[in-house]
Symmetry: C2
Subunit: 197 residues, 2 copies
């Protein structure tokens, strides 16, 4: 009689939704993966949709924690090398933390069905990363590390190729190492192009 069953259901749902999508997920299997029977689920959630909405609530809240409070520890790199390694640290995190990977997959699968998923997808895949790099690059320009340019445009040009390769890792996990090397190469190329020597 675990008290954390409600939480475990949410995590199992994230797992199944990220693999089979909302429609492809069935409650029996979900319950079985937790070692209980389907009716047990309904002691914690009213319906399948309720699980879904709770999961989305969670994802939105989590996203707000990490990216929402913008100035939430924003270490400005003090060298181009620092900028590079900071990028790679972030990339490795985003690629290897299971929960983040699953979140991206779920948003990918449900973006056309659920409006909140749609909005969160845009943040995750586009505006979030871009805004973050926008602030960083802007500071780096002030510091003279990056040549003066439109920081938003540079951030977009930096974030989206990286995002594309992160998506590739989600789709083809067996090619993760290749993708990471490509991100490294891209980052270095970006620094050569826009960095101040």
């Amino acid at each position: 009689m675990a008290k954390d069953t409600k939480e475990r259901i949410l995590m199992a749902a994230l797992d199944m939704f990220s693999k089979k999508g909302y429609e492809g997920t069935n409650i029996r299997e979900l319950a079985a993966s937790l070692g209980l029977v389907k009716s047990g689920i309904y002691k914690h959630y009213e319906s399948k949709k309720d699980i879904w909405n709770s999961l989305l609530d969670r994802m939105i809240a989590y996203y707000g924690e990490r990216f929402g409070s913008v100035e939430h520890i924003l270490p400005v790199p003090d060298s181009l090398e620092d900028f590079f390694s900071m990028t790679m640290r972030m990339v490795n995190l985003t690629i290897h933390v299971e929960q983040i990977v699953k979140t991206r997959k779920v948003l990918t699968l449900e973006q056309y069905q659920d409006e909140r998923a749609r909005d969160l997808a845009t943040k995750h895949f586009l505006t979030g990363l871009t805004e973050m790099f926008g602030r960083i690059l802007s500071r780096m320009m002030e510091k003279g590390l990056i040549s003066r340019d439109d920081p938003e445009m540079l951030a977009f040009a930096y974030a989206t190729p990286i995002s594309a390769l992160i998506h590739l890792c989600d789709r083809e996990p067996e090619n993760t190492e290749d993708a990471i090397r490509k991100i490294e190469a891209f980052s270095r190329h970006f620094i050569v192009t826009y960095g101040v020597k």
Copy 2:
């Protein structure tokens, strides 16, 4: 008693799959959207999976036609302005031709379920565009329009931001105009950065 029912089923399936995904699509609705009853479908396809596989066959064949035969009319721009307008023409096509949009959506939704969809997704979203721009940029470097650099890297840096905004249009069609303006701005910025004045 239309002879082209088989074809119409495929197009209706593309439409529904792109909206609701494979699992979310049901045969009754699919049949109804064509003005016939569900059992009629089975006169043309053995099963739902058969429809899906036929659709994938079609998408793969179509992709091969457009991108596969690489040198299939590859007009090399003879000015930077030409490169820009060529980009925008391609973008407008890819964003506004319904069938292409639906194909992207289907691949997005089924990329984790079906291996062929997965492979095609990578081509559509990443390698296809990149290879194409790689060839173009390589020629432009030879012509002295673009500064000498790694053409593959430049192509990647050019294709993926555009691809990200195409995805945005699929997700948020109401923001299509904004996205197109952003692509224009990005393309111009790219040309300023790498173009030879």
